[in-house]
Amino acid sequence: MFRRRIQQPVEIENNVKNEKLSTNINVNVSYTQSIMGRSDDLIIQRFSAATNNKLQLAISYIDGIVNSEVINSEVMERVLLGLKGSTLSQKVLNGPLEDFLVYCDLSVSQYRIVHQKQEMIDHLLIGNAILFIDGFSSAVAISVKAWEDRNVSKPDSQTVVRGPKDGFIETLRTNTSLIRRRIKSPKLRFITKTIGELTKTNVCIGYIDGIANDKIITELEARLDRINIDAVLESGNIEELIQDETASIFPTILNTERPDAACAGLLEGRVVVIIDGSPFVLILPSLFIQYIHASEDYYHRTHIAIAIRMLRVIALFLAIFTPSIYVALSTFHQEMIPSPLLVNLASQREGVPFPSILEAVVMLLAFEILHEAGIRMPRAVGSAISIVGALVLGEVAVQAGFVSSVMVIVVALTGICTFVIPAFSMAMPIRLIRFLFLIFSSLFGLIGVLFGTFLLIFHLCSLRSFGVPYMTPFGPFILQEQEDAILRLPLWRLIYRPLNIVQKDKIRQQNPRQAKPKPPKR
């Protein structure tokens, strides 16, 4: 029925990769021009130095992603001044480029000698300036990257009341610096790969050596290497390409906009993947329970944190089950509703022309549409949406007798509960499976709901995130890890890192007995 058709990729003869740069500066410059085509942000400046033999030089860069001031004052001026009047022997001109550069007096922090044409183009494209010198079969790639980016600001999707207010931005290096600033350990490692045939996106794997599980890093690297795609524009692209289970609506890789959450993940032995151009950092392996954790849980007092986590668990259940249980009870199991409530509900349903299930599906759909409209609409029309949503769909629908008021309550409760789940990527599958449960409940009542619950549990238990069972620590049950699952025991009780992820350095607090704060002895 669904037979796959995979087109065999056309093998492109690609000799460019290994082609060396020419010793003739004209060849190199025209090659650059021919590769870049008519793009007018490519700048090539040719100039000659006042040496004994009028040495020809050229600098090329892409305007907008380099700091042209640095190019002018620190590169061109210095090179020209350095070479001015110097006598270059044939030995230097025929020798390696490194020796020649001694004369140039470059004052930039970072440069690299490139030999191959492709390599040179790559450097050009990531914002380096290329310095060609006539007579050398190599060029200098000088790091002068500079482009406009956003300031580090509050994360939009994961706000907290208490906790650091900075968030990741679109620049990879800034993001790694946000993490590096928090974990000042030489064991923190960042390894960068370039993914995407056209986008050449830098993808950075971050982990703490000795805490993170080597197998997971190896597996992650293998999965990243397997990616052969033209473009990576967001971490979501990478997430989709490296996940364990493709046929699931549940996310198996957590994402965060918060450096503190990423650091907490690193310290638990997880691996982060930072993608250039995305403020969302991936954390893996991730467990189901992590999606109802918020970084704030660790900043509040433990009792409060436990209460709030329990609230979230309740909200999670309500978000999934409220509509389906209402439909099941009111159409199949009226005997389970207390009599006074039943009379009340029956009175509200008097005159409603649709069956409960249709009422529920329509109202939930309307809510989802409102939700979707709210995300993508321009700010200016926000009040219009809320008026239409609250008044027309809520009050007027009830007054007109299209829906019963209890259904509005049910849908509103469900909707609010969905927003309690801290991870947006988990809220979305919850919104989806609600409809599945509704269908089951309208067909078979509570038995259907139960059946759906079984299916859901089976599915969740079958998932894995980089080899770690998704439902840990509930299935498999690990008593040790209950302390930071639904509960959040005081920090002095959280002695160990998650056992199924970390394999070597398992202990967080070396002296557990002294971990608990005590008043001074008299």
Binding site: T331, Q334, L342, N344, A346, R349, E350, G351, L443
Partner: protein, 392 residues
């Protein structure tokens, strides 16, 4: 192939429709059922709720309940026949009250009980009562003040009376069936009667006046032998029954004195029964421990003096003993039925003795000897001490 099977399976699910599902507005919620006998047929009367008139919103001037009757040879047939006149299917899971007419009760209620305990829709938490004086149908047709639904009125009234007065007993289906099947106990049901003009009682006019023309009233307990009504206990005998059966939560009773009466409020009561067969005669020990409060008095007593209190305690225990004795006498002479469950008491405490007498227990019950051990403790005298008249 796998996909095709999956798809087929999903379609099959859809095709089943919503088996046995009912929308709330397609159900007639029955709050009470009454059963009368009419020319050897059962007349079933169902009181259904008009949800709109009970809920806070959308009230009109219609009554909160409507009754429908149907007559058939059997109860289930009558219930189904009701659909001829009701617009909706009668849903009986939320039944509160089941009224049986005195006539049926005298003939035996087994036939009635068979249906209500066999049908899966009925729960077992509704109270069963016997209508006396009038037929059961008219009990459901009284428009009740305070509670919109007559059945609610009956149920809450029986529960309040049991908790605060102690002259009735709310018997639920499971308990009734258990008592009928039990060898050492016979059931009791509360009786209800209409007081006032029942012609006006079934109109909404009844509740449009401060003093309702007609009202429903509990009139003591009906004693059964197996499933047959044997006779009635009056209010005092009913109260005595409840003391023996340990059904008393709180009640009041009065002790006469020269000037008038002292009313005692029962704060807590605990009755323990033990028994055994001695020389072929069953002996029952009734151990009552009651804490009371002086609730009202017009006697010349000094409540601060201990001897008055002791005197009061003694008089109260004599009163309670007489109350219980009158109840036992009524059971022996009029009902000839062991409604107290003395048989079960002996069964529990003297199993060997019970095995010898269980076949003839109903006759032997009449010869039971009771010993009373009553302990009354006056816990308090209320918020004032001596009676007002003695101070003035």
């Amino acid at each position: 192939m796998k996909y095709k099977i999956c798809l087929l399976w999903i379609i099959c699910c859809m095709l089943t429709g919503c088996w046995s599902s009912n929308e709330l507005n397609s159900l007639g919620l029955a709050s009470a059922i009454a059963i009368d006998k009419q020319n050897n047929n059962y007349r079933l009367t169902v009181q259904t709720i008009n949800p709109d008139e009970v809920a806070e919103q959308n009230r009109t001037s219609r009554t909160a309940v409507t009754t429908y009757s149907a007559t058939e040879e059997t109860i289930f047939e009558a219930l189904r026949k009701l659909t001829e006149i009701t617009p909706r299917k009668i849903y009986v899971a939320h039944l509160r009250i089941f009224v049986v007419s005195e006539e049926i009760a005298k003939e035996g209620i087994n036939d009635v009980l068979d249906f209500i305990s066999r049908d899966h829709e009925l729960r077992t938490d509704f109270a069963i009562i016997v209508s006396t004086e009038d037929d059961a149908k008219s009990v459901l047709e009284i428009v009740a003040p305070l509670e919109n639904i007559a059945a609610d009125k009956l149920l809450s009234s029986i529960e309040t009376a049991q908790n605060a007065w102690g002259s009735v007993q709310a018997t639920y289906l499971d308990q009734l069936v258990e008592d009928i099947l039990s060898e050492g106990k016979h059931p009791v049901l509360s009786g209800v009667a209409i007081k006032g003009n029942k012609e006006i009682g079934n109109q909404i006019d009844n509740v449009e006046q401060v003093r309702p023309t007609a009202n429903l009233e509990y009139v003591g307990l009906a004693g059964f032998k197996k499933d047959k009504l044997m006779g009635w206990l009056d209010i005092d005998e009913s109260m005595g029954y409840n003391f023996i059966a340990d059904n008393i939560n709180s009640t009041v009773f009065s002790i006469p004195c020269d000037e008038g009466k002292t009313v005692l409020e029962v704060l807590s009561n605990e009755t323990k029964l033990t028994g055994k067969i001695q020389n072929g005669i069953p002996n029952i020990n009734i151990h009552v421990e009651t804490a009371v409060n002086i609730g009202e008095t017009n006697c010349a007593i000094e409540t601060t003096k201990l001897e008055y209190i002791k005197q009061l305690e003694k008089e109260a225990s004599v009163y309670l003993e007489n109350l219980m004795k009158s109840s036992i006498n009524a059971a022996k002479n009029e009902l000839q039925s062991d409604i107290f469950g003395f048989g079960s008491v002996i069964h529990r405490s003297d199993k060997k003795g019970w095995n010898k007498v269980k076949t003839t227990w109903d006759e032997l019950f009449l010869e039971t000897e009771e010993k009373f051990n009553i302990k009354i403790i006056v816990r308090g005298t209320g918020t004032i001490e001596d009676p007002l008249q003695s101070e003035s």
